[in-house]
Symmetry: C2
Subunit: 444 residues, 2 copies
Amino acid sequence: MTGSAEEIYQATCSAPVNIAVIKYWGKRDTSLILPTNDSLSVTLDQDHLRSVTTARADPSFGDLSSYPDADAAAAHLTDRLWLNGEEELIKPDGRLRRCIDEMRKLRAAKESKDPSLASLSKWGLRICSENNFPTAAGLASSASGFAALIASLAALYELQPEVSSSQLSRIARQGSGSACRSLFGGYVAWQGGKEADGSDSLAVEVAPKSHWPDLHALICVVSDAKKGTPSTAGMQRTVQTSPLLQHRIKEVVPERMAKITEAIQKRDFDTFAAITMADSNNFHACCLDTSPPIFYMNDVSRSIVQLVEEINRASEAEGLGKKLAYTYDAGPNAVLYAPKENMPAILQTIRHYFPSADFDDTFNILGNGANASHRGAQEPQGLPSDLPKGFNQGVIPVHEPGSVRRLIHTQVGGSPRVLERGAGSEALLKDDGTPLRLARVKRA
Amino acid sequence: MTGSAEEIYQATCSAPVNIAVIKYWGKRDTSLILPTNDSLSVTLDQDHLRSVTTARADPSFGDLSSYPDADAAAAHLTDRLWLNGEEELIKPDGRLRRCIDEMRKLRAAKESKDPSLASLSKWGLRICSENNFPTAAGLASSASGFAALIASLAALYELQPEVSSSQLSRIARQGSGSACRSLFGGYVAWQGGKEADGSDSLAVEVAPKSHWPDLHALICVVSDAKKGTPSTAGMQRTVQTSPLLQHRIKEVVPERMAKITEAIQKRDFDTFAAITMADSNNFHACCLDTSPPIFYMNDVSRSIVQLVEEINRASEAEGLGKKLAYTYDAGPNAVLYAPKENMPAILQTIRHYFPSADFDDTFNILGNGANASHRGAQEPQGLPSDLPKGFNQGVIPVHEPGSVRRLIHTQVGGSPRVLERGAGSEALLKDDGTPLRLARVKRA
């Protein structure tokens, strides 16, 4: 059967950003996106950072059933996709194509088992995706974006629960490696796997958000003049030229994966923080060991490292544990992880040394109303009274205003959400299958 | 016999700075200063950078022969030492003490074989040492300083040729590890050795300056607000905490020592440059992999790396070889190695991107008279006409004037020199055994 004119087959889902604490760097298969090592991440709260995708199937977008030869017909399918209001070309052998085709196959299998189902697998798609955070935030949007794509197609095609999230993660991985980790909430491992076909390279939940809900994150968006090396190109250069990366892959990461997994299960922040910082440094060390060397951290990034290390040193000198941890992805931005109760003091300390950062007060710490956003120059705060006694205030200078451009306070969050099935207020597509919003400015 | 009143037993020697291309980082024995890996350096020209030391022995400074029990008597010996016009305390179990005692033992052995010799080994010493480069130049002076100390005592005690330079290097090593490499000219390897007593941890000549005389060096002194971690403390923290260092020690360095030695023997600058840059990055990667991480390079250091990599990339794209190599020790300063003929263009390029660096024109490239020193703001030079065609001028921005504070142009140089035996114009000691010059300002 085909869908009746009245019926609208559409789903809108959101997916979270994830920030790795054991880093993914290097592919053993660049086309299937199979990593050289396992990685582990914390999923961030979709209330603050998310990608939203609406996916819709309709025979009017193209209908395979009217073509005897499915292969030839595939060419007639007119799937279209918009990202942040700009149409993205779905290249025949590209990552978007592969993800969509894999999802369509799963739907086709479901339809073949139950002929009463509408033959969505044969219909063209309209997909519209938006991030609620500007690219300027310096956060990789590909992970949450591909996760939202896969989640929305899974909802549209009603694949779950028969198809598990881990199975879906295997498909998301082929869109963007770290996207596989954004299909779960809480604490997530990407098992690199051994198989050449990637069948065992997928994400699994290490612990749900509910197991350790009070882990907070402060994203410090660092101003940077020039763009660094794109990670896709950079990681393969490291694989080819860094003698240290091989040691990281064989020895360093396996041991740390085991230790940090145990730390998460025990809610042992001290160990979690130590491994998180060590692995961030180990990853950037391998970038530096690349020829030519790859630099992502800059002097401001390094100042944040030195500040965090000094806070922790002073705290441990008092017989207390670590207060926070830093981690850096392929850019100068710091992500600081800390128990909820430490965050107000950390926030004030960061705002003291890095004045006038735009601050998204998502937890209403400054008390100016929930989600108040504080922009531009701000009153000097001074340092918090509850810093460890031995803390050396001169560890780094107070930086130029705006050296840290923006602060985003968030926390560990849940898995992708189905916001809406069918048409409705959440949809990013209009009834005619065109985007609700189109980008004003064309990309350069 | 003892020295007659008239006779002055004194020697004045100079010793060179050396800059490693395979880095020394980590000790297997901190008291004997035995390294975790071999290293290799280029000796720089003493005409431009040197330490000078005058050593004098005289019975009036204390005389062991008047004490039956040499051990007790040793305490009565009143050796004194001045460094850059300030007296340095010779601590009983310190590095200076050990070096002086080892040299004195060698003299005593010589005297015991030939009783006609003056018994200098029984007399107190006066030692005065100066560097011709300011500490502000950011160059480690301990290597050239301890090498000059050992060389001057060797000349005073007339130990050579019976005692070889490698034997002397074993003693210099116990003053400052890399000092052992400053006892040779040209291209020098420090063989880390295997023995627990350090008997096989010494320097050897890989090739003399005459074998490859046209290698030049440009030292870029980079302004840096705060002092980095002292290398003595830093390297042991790396040994204790960096998983990558172990791989560097076991796998990376041995292979590179063999390859760069061969490159030097063949005067193969391309391979020499590739290994030099890779090992500098590998060393700093291990510093970054330390917990807490150690940062020596800053944003200016990294800009110089990116500039050098781009010049080489563009040159290789034209089918030509690498033009130059960078290397960084435990600080932000770059040392650029290049064949003599490349240096004028390199110099002009560096002065374009890093304006108003004080420049010591030791090779009279700017034609304002030999060794003219150009201070402060300077005319913009523009880029040289003979840069590789494909060179991307936007690879780094033109930096703030003074981002590179000073440029020192020098070349591969020879071994320590005996400037003078007995009293004379070169001596840093007055006839009464006190320093010719005393520091005006006391050290903070």
